[in-house]
Structures are given as C-alpha cells and as structure tokens.
Symmetry: C2
Subunit: 301 residues, 2 copies
Amino acid sequence: MKLTILGCYSATPKANNNPTAQVLEIKGHLFLIDCGEGTQVRLRNSQVRFARIKHIFISHLHGDHFFGLPGLIATFQLLGRQAELHIYGPKGIKEAITLLLKLGSSWTSFPLYFHELTTTCSEVIFEDEKVVVKTIPLKHRVYANGFLFAEQPGERKLNRVAAEEYNIDICYYQNIKNGRDVVLDDGTVLANSLLTYDPSPAKSYAFCSDTKYVPENVSLLRGVTALYHESTFLHQHADLAEKTGHSTARQAAEIAKASEVGMLILGHYSTRYSSLGVFKDEAETVFEPVFLAEDGKEFVI
Amino acid sequence: MKLTILGCYSATPKANNNPTAQVLEIKGHLFLIDCGEGTQVRLRNSQVRFARIKHIFISHLHGDHFFGLPGLIATFQLLGRQAELHIYGPKGIKEAITLLLKLGSSWTSFPLYFHELTTTCSEVIFEDEKVVVKTIPLKHRVYANGFLFAEQPGERKLNRVAAEEYNIDICYYQNIKNGRDVVLDDGTVLANSLLTYDPSPAKSYAFCSDTKYVPENVSLLRGVTALYHESTFLHQHADLAEKTGHSTARQAAEIAKASEVGMLILGHYSTRYSSLGVFKDEAETVFEPVFLAEDGKEFVI
C-alpha cells in the first residue's frame, strides 16, 4: 500500500503549497482522494498514469478539496480516455460538474458515474474482492466524509506439512485456504486451524479531513494501519479550530491514541505557522509514531 | 502598459505549462484576463497584490480559461477582501460561480458583480476617464470574446511659449489642454492647434484567444499597439485549426499584418510541437515584430 501526498495545505495558497489531494495505491487500485485546484499538474509531476485512476473520493465541497476535479475530468476527455470513472462525493457534486461541462459545450465520451453521499453514518461505498471502502462521518462546516480503505482479509496460508500428513488430496487445498474444514473418509472432521496459518494481516488506511475532533469515530478507526488526520491548528488555537470546524495536532493524536492506530500522518496545515515541526512535536506528546504529510512525499504503509 | 503572462498553453497540462491567464497593468488598473486552473498560485509567484485586481475578463467557458476563477474568488474571501470585484464573461458564468460557492456554504462578503456577455458585436463593457475596454467577437466552438483595452486619449500638451506670446491668462490653460480654442479680448479666435501639441499617442492591447481566423476583426484591431493572438497550430495543421476553432501562427500574423498592429504576441500553443521557435519562424514570414508569450514573461508595451 503506497500513499502519495500531492497536496496537504489548507485553503489559502502560497507559491509552493498545494491544496489537498492524495493518491492511494492499494491492491492494484489507484484511488484519488480529494482533488484541490492544480491536482492534474501534480499528478503529472508524480508521473501517475491518468488512465489508472478509476475512482475519485471527494471529502467535501470546499474549493481546496475539489476545485481541481472539473479540470481533471476535462483533461481525461481531451486525452481520449475510454475507461469508466467513478466519483464519490457529497450530493451536489454531480450538478456542479455537469454544469461546468455543459457551459463548455462538452460531455465525456467515457462512462462517468457519480455516487452522491448523503448519510451521516458510515457506509460501504465501494467493495470488490480485494478492497472495501467505507465513509467516515466527519464534522465540518459543510457535510463531509472521511474514507476508510481496507484490504479484504487475504486467504489463509496452507500448512503443507500437516496437509500431507493427513493425506489430503491437493484438489481440496483451495477450499482449505478459503477457511473450510475437511471431512476425512472415516468421517473425522479436521478443523481448518489444524491445516492453515493466519493470513498476513489486512492493511488499512483512514483519511480524515476536514473535521473537528470527533471521538465518536474511534470505534470505526480502531487498529487501522495508518491514519491521516487533519491538524489545521496547534492547541494554542483550539478555539479557532472549534470555530472553523478543524482539529489541532494534539486532537489528531488523541484520536490516533484512542484508536490504537499503527501510525499517524498529519496534514492540512494552516499557513500561519512558520514550520511544520511544531505539529509533529505537539502530536508526539500524546502518540507515536507521527509523520508529517508534505507535498510530493510518499508513504509505504 | 505592462503585460504579464501567467500561462499561455492550450488545454492539456504538462508539468510546467500553465493554461491561459494574463495580467494587464494599464493606467493604474490591474486587469486579469482569463483565469485557467492554478492562476492564483501564479499570481502569487508574480507577486501581484490580489486586492489590486478589481476586474476579471473571461473570454469563454472552456476549463483552461476559467477553472481557476472559483478558487481565486474563494481565496479573495478567505483573505478578507473588501474591495468590489467585477467579472466580465459569457452568460452562464454567474450560475457556475454561484453554484460552486453555494455548495461550499459560502458567499463573498465583498461586492461581486457579474457582467454577462451575449452579443456577437463589439461592445464597450468598461470605461472610465483613463481606459476603455471593448469586446472583440471571436469564433470558437463556444461563444467567445477577445478584449481590446485602450487608453483614453490624453490631454493636449500646452505650447507655453505661444500661450505667453498671446498673453493668455493662466486660468484658461486647462481648457486649452482639453482642446478648446481661445477668444481674445478683441474677438480674435485662436485655434487650439496654435497653442498646443498633439498628446502622446494612446496605447492599446488586444487579446484574441481562442478563435479561428476572423479577418472581419481587422477594422476593430487596426493600429493597436500590441496584439496577442492565439496560434494553437502551425500551418501544416491548418485543417485541425479549422476543425477545432483555432488559428495557426501564419493566420495570427495575417491578422497582425492586415491590422497594421505595432507588435504581435503569439500564445496558446498546442503541446504537440517540441519547441516554440517554430511558431515565431512561421509568423515572421508574414509580419514583424513577433514575440512569443511564455509563462512568467513580462512585456512592457
């Protein structure tokens, strides 16, 4: 699983800071998460093949999280894209994109599907045999969702020595790896656990931006391999965080600690602070390990 | 008059090529012309003070000419802008911007005025005592306008020696500079031309993008100081230019020659060509001088 940060700053732009966009590579999928203005150029810089992106997840409809989407879709069209594209985001996203394309007298010649989100409970929005994606209800100034990307549990690993000892025909091996017990000719039932080892643990990545502190999400986030949690402010500005629907670095770390996640990645920094180190320092008083998202940085999870 | 090219490439982005946006400084005004995705970052790079931009002119509603506008307006709002903002562009632009702001549950606290354009004849869309702005009807795949920015003619220059010779009271000087004749006490009429010199010639800048070859505009463009004309293609691809509603470098030069402009600036290059020099070479077979727009370049006109 590889996460590439295309942009991780909050709304007002500086010359070299980009608004939120990430690419998650998971089990052969390439998911684009949020799409702030300029994302298509950053995708080019990161040498991501546009055609591999088939699913785009938009957390909320503030400009710094989705104003790059119309341009990306227009570029897909200009490049002669054929592959279908699925967009998951708050209700209204279809109307916005449709209007912008209509004003340009264009439409896509590739299949474009909108999956508009409205509920405030976690729901499964994508699932195949390899990956499941759920929403994470966030609390911001507008309707917002985070996203939990989880590998499906892998198949169990065959204990070949045991299987041969019990003289099990090779044609049953796949069933055993799928978790089935085996009934021998004499009627004896061999529990699957005698014949297999646990699979490699399924990894997961949770994206939480933009949001105020939402401890209710701890049960949903429990044990995720990596948690990205916004930290727009430091705790000295907790009042501003509360007022604007954002979190502090300390609050992000509190969520990470309570959820017992594997690692915490901070991002969505206000540009009022002169360095990023202060966010890491503050979070590490509560939880470790803490990493800082930075434009262009890659995390192998 | 100073023109800054923020971006000058056609639609599909490369890592370091930006879509169309220009800033024209004319008689104290700072006009933004088109606003492709990422314009706000380029404005930052060019150290343009956002508050000085009070008028934005959008040629047409293809993404590479206006998808940077919603983000720029959102940033103006975040920065606490107070000054009014006027946007001139095709009908539909108000609906688009309004919807995007509404989806983000925001509106501007500064006065935002839309001047929607619909006619296919040239019309005056802005005028004050220093500058007049007219539309230039273009022919593209969607409704499109270029813009002609012209300094108002300056006042005539007083011939102080002549004025003193005729013993003219100083209180008449402003009237004389405004072009009035003078009646002496004995009834003699002194023609203004005896007392003044011609003013400095008023400069003008014409922006024509995107458009196919429109020779009908020659009378409107006659004698402009500087003409920016798109040259998406070279003449070897004249069929593509015709089909997509664009011009070749040679066609841009034909317009410049017939209009007897002071200088031609080419731009809106297709990324299919490996260098820009070929556009200049082709145009110079018809007209000189030719300059190449390049991202970040400034022209003092």
